[in-house]
Symmetry: C2
Amino acid sequence: MGYDLTLQGLHDLAEGAAVLGTGGGGDPYIGRLLVERQLHAGRTVHIIDVDELPDDALVLPSSMMGAPTVFVEKLPSGDGNVAAFRALEAHLGRTAAAVMPTECGGLNSMIPLMLGAQLGLPVVDADGMGRAFPELQMQTFGVLGVSGSPMAIASDHGDTCIIDATDNKRMEQLARALTIQMGGASYITDYPMDTAEVRRTSVHGTLSLCRDIGQALRQARASHADPFDALTDMLAGTIYSLGVVLFRGKVVDVERRTVDGFARGKALLESAEGPGDVLEITFQNEHLVARRNGTVIAIVPDLICTLNSESGAPIPTESLAYGQRLTVYGISTPPIMRTPEALACFGPAGFGLPDPYTPLHDLLART
Amino acid sequence: MGYDLTLQGLHDLAEGAAVLGTGGGGDPYIGRLLVERQLHAGRTVHIIDVDELPDDALVLPSSMMGAPTVFVEKLPSGDGNVAAFRALEAHLGRTAAAVMPTECGGLNSMIPLMLGAQLGLPVVDADGMGRAFPELQMQTFGVLGVSGSPMAIASDHGDTCIIDATDNKRMEQLARALTIQMGGASYITDYPMDTAEVRRTSVHGTLSLCRDIGQALRQARASHADPFDALTDMLAGTIYSLGVVLFRGKVVDVERRTVDGFARGKALLESAEGPGDVLEITFQNEHLVARRNGTVIAIVPDLICTLNSESGAPIPTESLAYGQRLTVYGISTPPIMRTPEALACFGPAGFGLPDPYTPLHDLLART
């Protein structure tokens, strides 16, 4: 049930969130510092289970929007999320009882923790995907019928906007256009929900799960155990069930551009086994598909994680660089993310990929 | 003082507004039809003087935003301005007592007339420039200290947004980005004002002035008099004071692109006197500068109007075409538009033009 986050817990949570961020969701180091500042100022991050929410509560998810390549150059101020949160409260004429994340990610798991500490509100242990996705309509909230609108968006310059769009995809388009004008990064509060909606449409327990992933990696390092074995053992008992090493190799090429408000590109890895065995990962903020010698070995919404081969530390897309030794690790997405409605929204077709969705289990069985 | 607009008055007003629109502000034919439909439905357009406003009234200016090249392909629905108007009222928690135009233009003078008829509200006989300008910060309201925010913006698809920007230029940038996403045209309500602000910051009497311009042109045609002489005589007694034929010629080239949410380009005219005497007009929705054989003969914020050489009918930038016989007619801008603060906002520098502002009177004296 509910607990106050410790400094150690924060470090673990930030690292685990970056693992589930599948290359996106922002850098865990920057995100962690934002929350550390709150803890050092004597404030508390109180995490609660969805069952602990009062029945008639208003819950407001909070996150950053934009290209992670921008976040590392233009650090979040800490004020923007408060501004967006208050703007949406004012627009709705209601006061929120809790804040929650929309996704798992090094930065976007941290934003609601920071905001909860700043506002003295609990943070709900759940989110809208149990991973990271680049676009606002790509959330279980929307797939299960919640409107993302009205949403609030704030800039680093003090501007705030309210968007009331007719559907969640249009909301994404309007918010993306504003985010680009705001300098490529913005602070948002969307998908206002009541308690029943949170319980029905969210992926439960993901903040604690991120913390457990980070803890497993930390303990493996301390005991000189294999971090990937530790991760696989730990995930076996969760809603993700399957975690598996897909490829080990060296980054030999990265093509990355910040376009249309996203970090888009490809990374090419050459196998540790030798040349001629290559893995190509395509990303749009997050890793979308991994192709080994031309054959798909993992594809959205299953998770494709790029981890440091020594430590298991997650490497976000904006930090991929030539020469890095990486282990590409696949995690099967939870069942709520694999319904036909969910796949229509954030399966391969949602990203314009030509390949069908094939579950990680099945792809593994083929090889 | 206040009067109900007749069908004849509407025709005159639409044509006069397109003259003062200086090539921008939208097509007068489309705009007029929108209001005609209201009159035919038995509704009334009631125009009132700024002095007739109750002292504590809220007044909301209403207009369309975007590239006029888009307006002629995607006709205004009539619902968007109501949506934006109501969204801003809801955001402010107040009910407006009147609507008003932001600019003079074939379409943007009509939008508030249509809205006033639809909502049963009077339309204030004033606007924020006494001509048309392409960007939202280019209004006397803002130059004289009124905030354009909060503003509301609506699409043809039922989306509405509220923008609360830290300054009017930033508001323009955010609204422009949304307008592009909304298909290149949007419906806006900005610069919410109280009665004192309307009286202090607006250009007074411009709706009636548009009607008088249209009437002068119509009467000249009926009596086979020269429409340009009629225009010059009529303007002499107004706040514009000076109207003058600058050039007569044939359109020999038009370069026009719809970029960044604007219709941008140049038109080249060859003199009726013969080749070797050319006029180049640069526009961004509106005509910005006219150069005869390389020498500036008129420049913003003075008005550069492209009129049919036979009838005096205004030709907007989106309708300029090879072979048209045009008379380029200059009108000096009213004094409120020529202060140093006004020129900093919408003088040549506001458009990135290298030339200084020189009043039409002085440029005429040089030639």
